[in-house]
């Protein structure tokens, strides 16, 4: 994983598997306070206490296809490299909260990367889930909710690609506005084979 947004995509996959229908992705970054925090909250099935205790052990997973799980372990590793860490709170039946804390200025903190592309993929592939994305910087806050967008635009689904691309531009412009660090707005529609 070269960028934090890929880690986010990975962790969100857990929430999707836990049958969540509302997933919050919250990023708090502050250069002034040397804080970079990613918080992912879902209302899925939650994690039983006995699994929660050693969840970042790569050999702990609830999957049956293979007996290993690297997602949370990797995220914890990346966070610890910068002097931060991972915190997971969960209650069976209520949902889960994953908080990864990094030191903003540490050289091993990866850049955010293509967060807009990740959001587009998640919204396109999971029309039934409300994704709420909040980003806080020293300059301000931006909030996006897929459900509110759907209601505002009066459409039944957002998974039409041309519409999602426009939504992507909109999110990108807003992230630039609050000077989000290390994010890239990839040129879409230009596929080189």
């Amino acid at each position: 994983m070269k960028e934090l947004s890929l880690n986010i995509l990975d962790i969100v996959q857990n929430s999707i598997r836990a049958k969540a229908d509302e997933i919050l992705i919250k990023i708090n970054e502050s250069f002034a306070n040397d804080i970079y925090q990613i918080k992912i909250t879902d209302n899925g099935t939650g994690i039983p206490q006995e699994i929660l205790q050693n969840i970042t052990d790569p050999f702990v997973t609830t999957r049956t296809k293979r007996r290993m799980g690297l997602g949370l372990s990797l995220l914890e590793y990346h966070a610890e490299l910068t002097g931060g860490g991972l915190e997971i709170n969960s209650k069976a039946g209520e949902g889960t909260e994953v908080i990864a804390s990094f030191a903003f200025k540490h050289i091993d903190r990866q850049p955010l990367g293509d967060i807009v592309g990740i959001l587009i993929i998640m919204i396109a592939a999971n029309p039934g889930i409300n994704f709420i994305y909040t980003h806080n910087t020293d300059k301000g806050e931006y909030r996006f909710s897929s459900k509110e967008t759907k209601e505002f635009l009066e459409v039944s689904t957002l998974n039409e690609m041309s519409l999602l691309e426009e939504i992507g531009w909109m999110i990108g412009e807003n992230l630039k506005e609050i000077e989000v660090s290390g994010f890239e707005l990839r040129k879409r529609n230009k596929v080189v084979l």
Binding site: D10, D114, I120, I121, E166, I167, E173, L193
Partner: protein, 133 residues
């Protein structure tokens, strides 16, 4: 093109577009369209599943293929990531491994459009090492 910075801008732009052409609401019945599932677990993402997923989302719409693209978890073929499962209407699903953009293009042009098989198919009877014991 003016910048879109708020939902109101977005709505305005959509309405301008709508007056120009008739945007039909696609009622998608998953049984009658091509279904593409991209494996998006840690193994898949680390091998580039994101780029493959973006490719299918964009290109299937651009090439006028009625399809539903979704993401799935690990299918157990971590060695062959990125993997995708394609289900043509009325047929059994086929899993393709080592899908880069070139192969993704072949899958759309050959398998999805004409039904011709391309390289990289993971046989149905393949079992993970655990199951073989």
């Amino acid at each position: 093109m003016s910048k879109i910075t708020s939902l109101a801008d977005l709505k305005k732009k959509r309405e301008e577009l709508k007056s120009g052409l008739d945007i039909r609401v696609k009622a998608i019945d998953p049984e009658n369209v091509v279904q593409v599932k991209v494996a998006m677990a840690t193994c898949g993402i680390a091998s580039g599943a994101k780029t493959v997923m973006e490719f299918f989302l964009e290109q299937l719409e651009r090439r006028n293929v009625a399809a539903v693209v979704t993401q799935t978890g690990c299918m157990g073929y971590c060695y062959a990531e990125p993997t995708i499962e394609v289900k043509l209407p009325g047929q059994d699903p086929v899993v393709f491994g080592f899908v880069d953009l070139k192969r993704a293009d072949q899958i759309i042009e050959k398998y999805i459009k004409t039904g011709e098989l391309v390289d990289g198919i993971i046989p149905v009877n393949y079992q993970t090492i655990d199951l073989k014991e």
